[in-house]
């Protein structure tokens, strides 16, 4: 059974360690905040200028002047701080953020990522993604393993315009958890009931399978 969005987020939350500063991209990565284990203290950075992002506000606390990078209304926490976009990206570029979690349209076996443009069809812009992938100490990608037509999104080489080179460290898809190594995608875990063969079929890039591959534990 493939993982759903919340399960992907829950699995990624296991990668978050105590004391980390973390930037969460739009989409599945945003959901990761809901699954950070108790006792793990992390600080969420929102690249539009906030450190210490709190939960969504209750109706009476909605403030148009307090949003996250996904333009959602949010709250601060005790110990939060607010700063400009140039200070925010100084923080990111200067490698002060420990972990970046973001979505992708394609990832190559060398760790290249494409997530900002489909030529002729969609141009939303890269936003802060290029800065994040160029400087993050650790990048985990949350994505679907295949497109709707079944074609793989884990490729030998990206076909879409790339966002950054050789930067992705780990990938959590609906089918598997993989590590990007010098030799290709190393399979770490399978979604419950999904076989290595299923994953092999869904992966165009080099897949490295060593020993028994355990199922994801959530």
């Amino acid at each position: 059974m493939a993982l759903d969005k919340n399960q992907i987020a829950k699995r990624i939350a296991q990668e978050v360690k105590n004391g980390m500063y973390v930037n969460l991209g739009i989409g599945i990565p945003t959901l990761v905040a809901n699954y950070i284990p108790h006792g793990i203290e992390v600080v969420l950075q929102s690249e539009n200028g906030l450190l210490g992002m709190g939960p969504f506000p209750t109706e009476d606390k909605v403030d148009a002047d307090l949003i996250n990078a996904g333009k959602q209304t949010i709250t601060t926490l005790p110990g939060s701080s607010i700063f400009s976009s140039s200070d925010s990206f100084g923080m990111i570029r200067g490698e002060h953020v420990d972990l970046t979690i973001l979505g992708a349209m394609e990832v190559s076996e060398e760790g290249d990522i494409a997530n900002w443009k489909i030529p002729g069809k969609m141009v939303k812009g890269m936003g802060g993604a290029m800065d994040l992938v160029a400087s993050a100490k650790n990048i985990i990608v949350a994505m679907q393993h295949t497109a709707r037509d079944g074609s793989s999104k884990l490729l030998k080489e990206c076909t879409l315009p790339i966002t950054g080179l050789k930067c992705v460290k780990k990938i959590v898809t609906d089918l598997a958890v993989l590590e990007v190594t010098d030799k290709g995608f190393k399979l770490l875990e399978r979604a419950p009931g999904v076989t290595v063969e299923d994953i092999q079929k869904a992966t165009e890039g080099t897949l490295i399978v060593e020993g028994d591959i355990p199922e994801v534990q959530l």
Partner: protein, 232 residues
């Protein structure tokens, strides 16, 4: 202290002409200079180059300037949530230069701080790097990026004083502080304009030297793009 107050938005925008380069503060619809945008619509200046992180939505913010075809070129980092924008872009009516968000922020800061160029790793090896000088430092590749300046910068602050000092509120700060430094003429619209001396010198986000004109704006709509709430 030098007094930067102008009496209204009309006076604040005097001298804005067709073909000028403008910076407009804000992230999404948060912290945008609503009054100045309305006045740009009213005076109808055309062929503008607009530098702004986003392009508003179809019926608010810079989206309104796009609807009226006042914009020739956009320099931005993210322009989703705007169908008219995407249409003009794909049809070639609108020229667009997309920058990584941190690069955009830093280019604007550099414009204000007299730094003509700097190196950043963002965009190396991507379309963004095409035609740009690249260089290795400590084993990592970087692109050389240049400063951005504007004929007019329009920024929105929470409080301001007559000396031009500004304080922003929450994440409505975003691009406003850098843009305030990079305009030949910087116009600040504020929710509350107070006499010089009422703001704590230690807590000023934008020093008055950067602001040429300041006025108290009216009827802030502060539209919310993604109203997300939890149960009390």
């Amino acid at each position: 202290m030098i007094n930067k107050t102008v009496k209204n938005v009309q006076e604040a925008l005097q001298g804005v002409q067709d073909g000028m380069t403008l910076m407009l503060g804000g992230f999404g619809l948060c912290g945008i200079p609503e009054n100045c945008i309305q006045e740009l619509l009213r005076i109808g200046v055309k062929d503008l180059t607009c530098i702004s992180n986003n392009a508003g939505v179809d019926d608010f913010g810079i989206g309104l300037l796009l609807q009226k075809r006042q914009v020739k070129k956009m320099i931005a980092s993210y322009v989703g949530e705007n169908a008219e924008f995407e249409r003009q872009l794909l049809s070639g009516e609108l020229e667009v230069e997309l920058n990584p968000q941190g690069t955009l922020a830093e280019r604007i800061r550099a414009g204000g701080a007299g730094i003509p160029a700097f190196f950043t790793p963002a965009g190396y090896g991507t379309e963004v790097g095409e035609g740009k000088e690249s260089r290795e430092f400590n084993g990592k590749m970087y692109l050389m990026e240049s400063w951005l300046k504007a004929d007019f910068s329009f920024v929105k602050a929470w409080k301001g004083d007559t000396a031009g000092n500004l304080i922003y509120k929450g994440t409505a700060r975003n691009f406003n502080p850098m843009m305030a430094t990079a305009g030949k003429i910087t116009v600040a619209e504020v929710e509350e304009l107070v006499p010089a001396g009422e703001l704590d010198p230690n807590m000023i986000h934008t020093p008055g030297i950067f602001v040429q004109r300041i006025f108290q704006g009216e009827k802030y709509e502060k539209r919310i793009e993604q109203r997300t709430v939890r149960q009390a």
